[in-house]
């Protein structure tokens, strides 16, 4: 029982992990803002590149913001800290730990289909 509670505690904490999508969102949002800003600043003084008239920085910066902002907003940490009840219940069916203290001489086998 103590091990079960400990495992549930670990999985609950892992479920509170800020997802990778948030980090992606915040970086892309930052990039989008600086690149769009640069694109607007250079709007009338184009860089010496081919097809500069297409203002690639403006389009690119806008695209980065359009991707970064929803990711940041959707996966902002306060939305993910509590975790859903169903997710914790799903974790109850999680396998035994993969810790190396268990030897690997015979496969233990696992049914990996989710409980729901």
């Amino acid at each position: 029982m103590a091990n079960e509670n400990s495992r549930l505690q670990v999985h609950r904490e892992h479920h509170e992990m800020v997802p990778v999508w948030f980090f992606i969102g915040i970086l892309l949002l930052f990039y989008g803002i600086v690149i769009l800003g640069a694109g607007l600043l250079e709007y009338h003084h184009l860089p010496a590149v081919v097809l500069a008239r297409y203002h690639a920085n403006v389009w690119g910066g806008t695209l980065l913001i359009l991707i970064g902002f929803p990711f940041t907003a959707r996966f902002y940490p306060h939305r993910n800290r509590m975790g859903s009840k169903s997710a914790i219940l799903t974790k109850k069916n999680a396998r035994e730990g993969d810790n190396l203290a268990h030897t690997e001489s015979v496969s233990t086998g696992r049914d990996r289909w989710p409980a729901v």
Binding site: L63, S107, T108
Partner: protein
């Protein structure tokens, strides 16, 4: 493995001149690069709190969703060495280079997802050598474990050196600065967060690579005037068929690559792609980190879709370079000051269209690709060393905390060894060619061992060991033979018109066959393992969960069928 990238260092090294650079970065670009370094270090520091057991550190707690596992699965392979190498190969050989993306996605990745992943996952193994331990015993595990550990450190060092050299030539950065700055960053974030960090940064890298390189195909196609315009411009510059996938492959001499369709189908699609994508632990580890079997099966299938899209940012820039660059790129052996080699086509296209801002993003994407390559290799090395060498052979009775500490130290020592390898390559540049060849020796035979072991109960431990060993040695022998006498290629590839690119394809086929035949032959005269020891490891003794009660659109096989449809469509469109 990027075959064309084998000459990357030689090409770029020939152009190294103090203060000679292709691209100058502005403060804005440097801000973008710096932000990336800050982010990856921050991610590593953040994730340390979640890497508290060996399962967390080495297998990311087996907690990854299908999307995260799938994108990192692809990104683990999609490094900058790969991107630049295949863009270069496209400039040299045309659209034929796309085979290494499309025929790799199907059937190899689908094979892994639908057929092999259930065995890897249900067996509860932590690595591919671990699976070999369950199937064939300790000797085979040790053979593959030692070779894999060795290869990952070499590849990590190659990535590090290649990045430093690219940064020196493209940006004028000091070689030592690039090596140390990147390796210390990788050491910190992987030692702290383990596979969590590696996976998070690979998914981040995926987005950066796509967004950083996107300007090239978009603006390039506008400049070229669409596909028809691109084809017309290519024909103005070169003779031969550079824009068809299969039509020129009926003869070795009928295409720029000098290969036959049998080599592409059986060599690339069969032995090489299946060997790499189903047994290279660096990529398979990502799928194994999935939270359940369905996610583990879906991860390579999700990756297959994006794999088929990658030519848009790798192959297409190569074709656009061929069509639009005002200067003609040359082979590595002819590179000199004032001339640019094939390997510079991607940075040249980046500089062509991207001003300050997007240029910094593109350079960051290349740096991210190199660093992810290092991080992936180092984390895989730490896993294989700790699970498959240290724990079974050196110290069996440690606590989990002990193995976690070993894993962290292993990561740091792995990075140090990689730095050593990188400096070794600076003095002996041909080592890079030999390292790439070394990797190729193991891939196809390992696939043979694993696939026979998964589906043939009668395969014995001795059969598995000798098959893997003989298959590997036969690959090394063929390579050495052609190296000593290039005319021997006609026997390996079965044609006097075969060119060097064909050697890897046919060598993979023969070494795979050798491994399978030896495994079968030795198994027939030696004793198999009892069924009880093969439970959950072999087809027929593994109760695989039935997914028929799940809606069709949620089943991996549905999405795998989609991969097949997209693959077939691409072959027809670009025939």
């Amino acid at each position: 493995m990027p075959l064309a990238a084998m000459h990357l260092t030689e090409a770029i090294a020939a152009l190294v001149q103090p203060n000679d650079r292709l691209i100058s970065l502005t403060p804005l670009d440097l801000l973008i690069v710096t932000a990336y370094f800050v982010m990856v270090l921050g991610i590593g520091i953040y994730l340390k709190r979640y890497a508290r057991t060996s399962g967390d550190f080495f297998m990311a707690g087996r907690d990854m969703s299908a999307w995260v596992a799938g994108l990192s699965f692809l990104s683990a392979n999609l490094g900058a060495l790969e991107l630049m190498g295949w863009a270069a190969a496209t400039y040299q050989y045309g659209i034929l280079a796309a085979h290494f993306y499309w025929i790799a996605a199907f059937p190899a990745m689908v094979l892994l997802g639908l057929v092999m992943m259930p065995f890897y996952y249900v067996s509860n193994t932590h690595s591919v050598p671990g699976y070999l331990q369950l199937r064939y015993g300790g000797a085979t595990r040790a053979l593959s474990g030692v070779s894999f550990a060795f290869m990952t450190i070499l590849m990590s060092g190659i990535n590090m050196y290649a990045m430093a050299l690219v940064m020196k030539v493209v940006l004028g950065w000091n070689l030592h600065f690039s090596i140390w700055a990147s390796s210390l960053t990788v050491a910190v974030y992987v030692a702290l967060g383990g596979l969590y960090s590696a996976i998070f940064n690979e998914v981040l890298q995926f987005f950066l690579i796509w967004l950083g390189a996107l300007a090239i195909p978009v603006l390039g196609m506008i400049e070229a005037g669409g596909w028809a315009g691109l084809v017309a411009k290519i024909h103005e510059h070169v003779q031969g068929d550079y824009v068809h996938l299969w039509a020129p492959l009926s003869t070795f001499s009928g295409n720029p690559m000098g290969v036959h369709w049998t080599g592409v189908v059986f060599g690339v699609g069969g032995a090489i792609a299946c060997g790499y994508w189903t047994t290279d632990f660096l990529v398979v580890q990502r799928a194994m980190a999935a939270k359940d079997l369905r996610s583990a099966k879906l991860a390579p299938i999700i990756a297959a879709y994006f794999k088929m899209l990658v030519p848009a940012i790798v192959i297409l820039p190569g074709l656009l370079g061929l069509a639009l660059l005002p200067l003609k790129l040359v082979p590595e052996s002819m590179a000199a000051p004032g001339l640019h080699s094939y390997n510079e086509v991607l940075p040249l296209m980046l500089a062509r269209y991207c001003g300050p801002g997007l240029l910094g993003l593109g350079i960051t994407a290349l740096i991210a690709g190199f660093m992810s390559g290092m991080a992936g290799n180092v984390s895989a090395f730490a896993t294989v060393w700790t699970y498959d060498i240290y724990q079974p052979h050196i110290f069996k009775s440690g606590t989990d905390r002990h193995y976690l500490r070993v894993g962290r130290w292993c990561t740091i020592l792995g990075v140090v060894a990689s730095i050593g390898t990188a400096y070794l390559v600076t003095h002996f540049k041909s080592i890079m060619d030999y390292m790439q060849a070394l990797v190729s020796f193991f891939i196809a035979p390992l696939f043979g061992s694993v696939i026979v072991g998964m589906f043939w109960k009668r395969a014995t431990p001795k059969g598995g060991f000798w098959g893997l060993l003989i298959g590997t040695l036969s690959s090394a022998a063929m390579y050495t033979l052609v190296l000593i006498d290039p005319d021997m290629l006609r026997y390996v590839a079965l044609s006097p018109d075969a060119k060097p690119m064909a050697e890897n394809m046919y060598r993979a086929v023969w070494s795979w066959l050798m491994c399978v035949l030896v495994t079968i032959a030795v198994s027939l005269v030696t004793a198999p393992k009892p069924d009880i020891e093969l439970k959950n490891v072999v087809y027929g003794l593994t109760p695989l969960p039935d997914d028929r009660e799940i809606p069709l659109y949620r089943r991996p096989i549905f999405w795998a069928a989609g991969v097949a449809v997209v693959f077939a469509t691409l072959q027809v469109v670009f025939w």
